[in-house]
Amino acid sequence: MTALIELSNVDKTYNQGQVNEVRALKGINLEIAAGSMVCLQGSSGSGKSTLLAIIGCVFPPTSGRAAIAGKQLSRLPDRFLTLHRRASIGFIFQRFNLLPELTVQDNITLPLMPLGVGPRERRERAARLMERLGIGHRAGFPARQISGGELQRVAIARALINDPPIILADEPTAHLDHALSLAFMEIMGELHRDGKTIILTSHDQLITGHPAVERLIGLNDGMLHVP
């Protein structure tokens, strides 16, 4: 299988050249195959979120080469990173990052707005996803009025709305109870079967030990290690 994500010698330094300089990633070499489901594991501060942000085209590495979905994105300016991100990446965040005052449907279709997708198509695409994730009856509710489990599905729907090949989730179950965490992994497993590439970060046993996870990648102080 061809590698969808290829990192070689990737470094990420925050606040370079300043007193509060942090070397968050040091010489990362990593390949992730298309259609695989992997989990990044490591203690707090080991650089999981930073690595995920580079794979997710949020910022480029400070040095080294990163190719995501066939695109070299080392040193790409912000604008092009964003273009690439919205075409290839669906992000699910630990705290969901939904806008509480927006309706469920508007939250889900937020990524489609700058793409110029018209209101009718936005509604139809959202309706299909909401149906599939079982939140169709909540479409018109403001996000602040729905339950944690429903919020999680809204976050997933938003990540999927533009049908990206890569799904990233940063500690998605940190704020969920056992049942909701299981439900989340259930959906991830399904997406994986649909052919999506899925990358999670977690130190939750429930995720790292989940049967759907094909590969564990250990991080320690900004470097890879075999767990």
Binding site: R79, N97, M113, P114
Partner: protein, 390 residues
């Protein structure tokens, strides 16, 4: 990628986000509309007044001669006319008798003007200023609207002479509202009746009006008159006009300074609102960025929010200003613009709305407002996408 539908989506989002923050939006709009209202009313009032005034100044005599003693005006002998007979270029000299009549019932001053309309420089214009009726003959009077309202719409009126005896007059006409700036509080009657009312002897008048054959000679003739008649003050129409403009200009200048201060403080307030981001707003922008909004999209969002707020306020403020000036005769500005006379001339102001004027107010309000809201939006828009990660 379709640029137009992206634009429409951003507008769509701006509208819904203004609606979500409707109390904040409405409060900004109310303040902004009030500023625009003041500015536009002021502009329309000034314009309408200047137009009315310059229309009326045309009717002022080219040269007025007043007799002065100890720095005060006093009645001028009609016989002075003969002294000026030698000046070449004078067409006619008309004595005027005028003064103020205090109406005790209403504690208001009325202006009494006594001129023989046949001798008036612009007699035909005066006749045209009469709305209903005709020019007054002996023991007859034409009233301005305000005077008529005070004295009642009677056919006969009686006024007190200085010795408190009554002088009856027949009302034969009324001045047109459009000339109200000058005629509103006016009683117009033949000079002999005015003399009778003020107990002025027949050989005296209040002042003399000089009509000149060639307008370009007005200044020369005025100088000659002043030389021939020591102890008089000779005023030309352009001098009156200048004085008027100076006074009016000072008043409107003062008012515009006040208005610009209000505008400036509003712009600062808008800047403040736009640049001070609440944590929720920062979070919202971080989320928009990470789900794929570009910096330009966020700035566009702020821009459209600004445009919507500014245009709604502008339309509301301008419309209210028009209503204020056209239907309420600019009641708020009257004291500043016209000064306090006991009897306020209740002008019919007819504000003509011209594209240039609208654009001027637009440039003075909407453009700085947009600058004040969009420029700080840069700061908001460059919030990094990864701020939404933690």
């Amino acid at each position: 990628m379709n640029g137009l539908s992206r634009q429409l989506n951003v507008i769509d989002y701006s509208l819904s986000s203004l609606w979500r923050r409707r109390f904040k939006s409405v409060s900004v709009m109310v303040v902004f509309a009030a500023v625009i209202f003041l500015l536009a009313s002021f502009q329309m009032t000034t314009k309408a007044l200047t137009q009315t005034a310059s229309r009326l100044l045309v009717m002022a005599p080219e040269i007025t001669i007043q007799k002065m003693r100890a720095g005060r005006q006093e009645p001028i002998p009609v016989a002075y006319r003969e002294k000026l007979a030698g000046i070449f270029g004078i067409r006619r000299i008309t004595p005027r008798v005028w003064g103020y009549y205090f109406n005790e019932t209403h504690a208001a001053n009325l202006t009494v003007i006594g001129v023989d309309p046949r001798l008036m420089p612009l007699g035909e214009k005066l006749a045209a200023a009469i709305d209903t009726g005709r020019l007054p003959g002996d023991h007859e009077v034409v009233l301005g609207q305000g005077a008529e309202e005070l004295l009642g719409e009677n056919r006969m009126i009686s006024l007190f002479r200085p010795d408190l005896s009554l002088k009856p007059l027949t009302v034969v006409g009324r001045f047109r509202p459009a000339t109200d700036l000058l005629t509103y509080d006016t009683l117009f009657l033949p000079p002999d009746d005015a003399r009778d009312l003020f107990s002025l002897p027949p050989e005296l008048a209040t002042d003399l009006c000089v009509t000149v054959a060639n307008p370009s000679e007005v200044d020369t003739i005025a100088k000659k008159i002043a030389a021939l008649l020591p102890g008089t003050r000779v005023l030309t129409r352009s001098q009156i006009e200048k004085t008027y403009h100076a006074v009016f200009g000072w008043r409107s200048g003062f008012a515009s300074v006040c208005l610009l201060t209000a505008l400036t403080s509003f712009i600062i307030f808008a800047w403040d609102k736009a640049s001070g981001l609440t944590p929720e707003e920062r979070r919202e922008i971080g989320i928009l960025k990470i789900v794929g909004w570009q910096t330009a999209d966020v700035i566009l969002l702020r821009f459209w929010e600004g445009v919507i707020v500014a245009l709604l306020s502008f339309v509301a403020g301008y419309t209210l200003a028009y209503i204020h000036v056209a239907f309420f005769d600019a009641g708020l500005f009257r004291p500043i613009m016209l000064g306090w006379s006991v009897l306020h001339p209740r002008l019919r102001l007819s504000p003509g709305v011209e594209v240039g004027d609208v654009l001027l107010v637009l440039c003075l309000t909407v453009v700085p407002y947009l600058a004040a809201t969009v420029v700080p939006a840069w700061r908001a828009a460059i919030i990094r996408a990864d701020s939404a990660l933690n």
